[in-house]
Subunit: 429 residues, 2 copies
């Protein structure tokens, strides 16, 4: 049936329960998508500058066709033999360091991270996990412990295994080579060791997407990776957001940050919205994990999911979407920097490729986050037909992370609108 917004909101509360988050003060009722565009039920068109799941564009014809073709032919599980999963993992791991050569396919990034933490326990015999205090890695009982913004009241006491370091903040703290971050992690590792829990892994998004993607020079994770290995733990890179060419310069953000993770987790954009996630690791870690578990995932790695995921890689190659991300991202940061010259509230411009944004502050001296202002800005942009969001510890960083076919022309529309909205929106916190 077709509901109006009022009925949609009340039926959501009734059928999905209270407190289910929506975006915006006035939630959007999206009914159609194509490329970088979305349409609401009133026929209004929005430029999507936020959604990274439709990586190669909303309703990408190649992906839709791959799903349709394979769903019409066969959809079953990995207890039968099939070429699809093998072809996909061969091609996927071909983009990585030679040591990352074996994978488990799941349906979500949460499932992937849930496996990654168990791999860490299996390999090290320890359970202590370190992460940043402004991150998110998923929703299972185990991995939801990694979100300090969402401390679970029911979590089977798993919180005792987790320790948090302050999220890197390149705008306020100087840490040019990442050694301060490594020192902070060392402190938490020592705490874990002293407590008797021991140290198993550091889990990070190598581009710190949820933390507000601080500006770090290439290779910035090297010191902390060294620390982690020296202390007997493993490095888990969660590239659910940062991977698949998003940063424009490298296919994987861990490559940009100069490290090879022991375990790499994938999700969101992997199959353009078809539910696919995965864990890639080295043969030795996989062997230890598979000796401890008879892990099987009914839907994971099914032929349709693999066809959808393969179509994403093919589309990226064919359309040279990583190069596009690099080129359009540079142009976008240039325009954003020009806007920064005009408005004092823009404290810092950041990003790489098609993850970019700006931190909004009450003034450039105190650098105090303009959180409420950023919220108003995001809502005002929505009313002007631009979909974006905000994130970071103070929720004051514009999070701009569009589908990869985003163009210079799209960037112009985004920043022309932002310029207008900034001119109209008073900076009152």
């Amino acid at each position: 049936m077709t509901r109006n917004n009022e009925s949609l909101i009340s039926d959501r509360a009734r059928l999905l329960g209270p407190k289910l988050p929506t975006f915006y003060e006035e939630p959007v009722h999206i009914v159609k998508g194509e490329g970088v565009w979305l349409w609401d039920a009133d026929g209004r068109k929005y430029l999507d500058c936020y959604n990274n799941v439709p990586h190669v564009g909303h309703c990408n014809p190649r992906v839709v066709e791959a799903i349709h073709r394979q769903a019409s032919t066969l959809n079953t599980h990995t207890r039968y033999l099939h070429d699809g999963i093998l072809d996909y993992i061969e091609r996927l791991t071909g983009t990585m360091d030679a040591s990352l050569n074996t994978a488990v396919l799941t349906c979500t990034g949460s499932e992937a991270n849930d496996i990654a933490l168990r791999m860490a326990e299996a390999v090290t015999g320890k359970r202590g996990i370190v992460a940043t205090d402004a991150t998110y890695h998923g929703n299972t009982a185990l991995v939801s412990q990694l979100s300090r913004s969402n401390i679970p009241s029911a979590g089977f006491g798993l919180d005792r295994f987790f320790r948090f370091v302050p999220a890197p903040d390149s705008y306020r703290n100087t840490d040019p080579d990442g050694s301060n971050f490594a020192d902070a992690v060392t402190t938490k590792i020592e705490e874990l060791k002293a407590s008797g829990i021991g140290f198993a892994a550091l889990v990070v998004c190598p581009y710190f997407l949820n933390e507000g993607f601080p500006n770090h020079r290439d290779g910035w994770l090297k010191p902390v990776a060294e620390t982690v290995r020296k202390e007997g733990g493993i490095l888990i890179c969660d590239e659910v957001q940062s991977g698949f060419g998003r940063t424009g310069t490298h296919f994987w953000a861990h490559q940009k940050m100069g490290v090879v993770p022991d375990v790499l987790t994938l999700g969101k954009p992997m199959a353009n919205g078809h539910p696919v996630g995965g864990v890639v690791t080295n043969a030795e870690t996989m062997k230890v994990f598979r000796s401890g578990f008879r892990y099987f995932n009914t839907f994971g790695g099914n032929p349709v999911s693999c066809a959808a995921a393969m179509a994403v890689l093919e589309e990226m190659d064919d359309k040279k979407l990583m190069a596009n991300a690099n080129r359009v991202g540079e142009y976008a940061r240039g325009r954003l920097e020009a806007i920064r010259q005009k408005y004092d509230c823009i404290g810092d411009v950041r990003g790489s490729g098609l993850i970019f944004g700006a931190e909004l502050v009450l003034d450039r001296e105190s650098r105090k986050p303009a959180s409420a202002f950023t919220d108003r800005l995001v809502n005002a942009m929505r009313h002007r037909g631009i979909i974006l969001s905000r994130l970071g510890r103070g929720k004051n960083t514009l999070k701009i992370r569009p589908p990869m076919p985003f163009t210079v022309h799209n960037a112009d529309l985004l920043f022309d609108t932002l310029d207008e909205v900034l001119a109209e929106t008073p900076l009152i916190q």
Copy 2:
């Protein structure tokens, strides 16, 4: 690329890691499916008597068309408003007791059970979980603890919250009204209370599918449900396998067993292989859960998943597949009973609707499981073009659980072949 079986097997070991299970001594390379039929790479046709995920038939045109149509229109997440998820949950919960009126959609049954256990903790403030010793409820760190057949060596110490009762066995133990089962659960609840952990929930498949679907009269779960509530816990019914009309007489097996669960979990057949799972509960439990967690699942409840799941419900109604399951299931058990008269190795015929099978024993007196024989039988059936499997504590129960459009004609082919294979296969353990 197209690999031969040898290359498929060696590439699996290389790319997916060791110990990834396949079915059969000689794994099957399936390339095509339609209705109740599968084809291998050599063009050989198999009658699928095993796979419950393609609930309304392999490559069901209505489901494929629904996926294609919605994937071409819009695929996004539940932070925007959309009718699809609301229409689906309205229709889904319409098949249930009025108290089961709110849902969370996930991508897998594992994710659903992971939520269910946290709901139990949120509602009761306790963490002790009781299950049977021959069950399976999924693969996350938390729910993999429920599988005694797969004791995880790495599981963050979560095993301390779980207690196991012997799986019901209607063939060897008398428990006509389920009160012995209730007593066994009471003992484990008392253990949990004495240990200081406390009691949160009993988790069962109401038709005990993994335990070998013992013959229980309707209403058999009533005593244990009463016990669970009296002891302050909640009843979680995992209907990943038993639901969606599988038993022929009721849409949900918990209805057949005379109880209303506090939490119901769903998965496998829900969207015919498209990765969808879900948790259905009452408004109060949902409220308590959502107060404790900001649970969000990126892919869960997306428009394509909801369209696929809705198409399954529509197809079931249109084709009257539950009535078909009832009719064909009765016919099948009749034929199986006739075969039992002929072969001493068949100890017990069981099932309801399109879950049926027989327990194979070395002799009818000792009732000792003919495990190795059952394995040979399953492999011999595969070579005759019949796909089925075995399960239960002794892995000696034929597990026959075909797609729901299975016909009397299909059942004849299955049992004619079984008859031939039994005549040829020597009963040597």
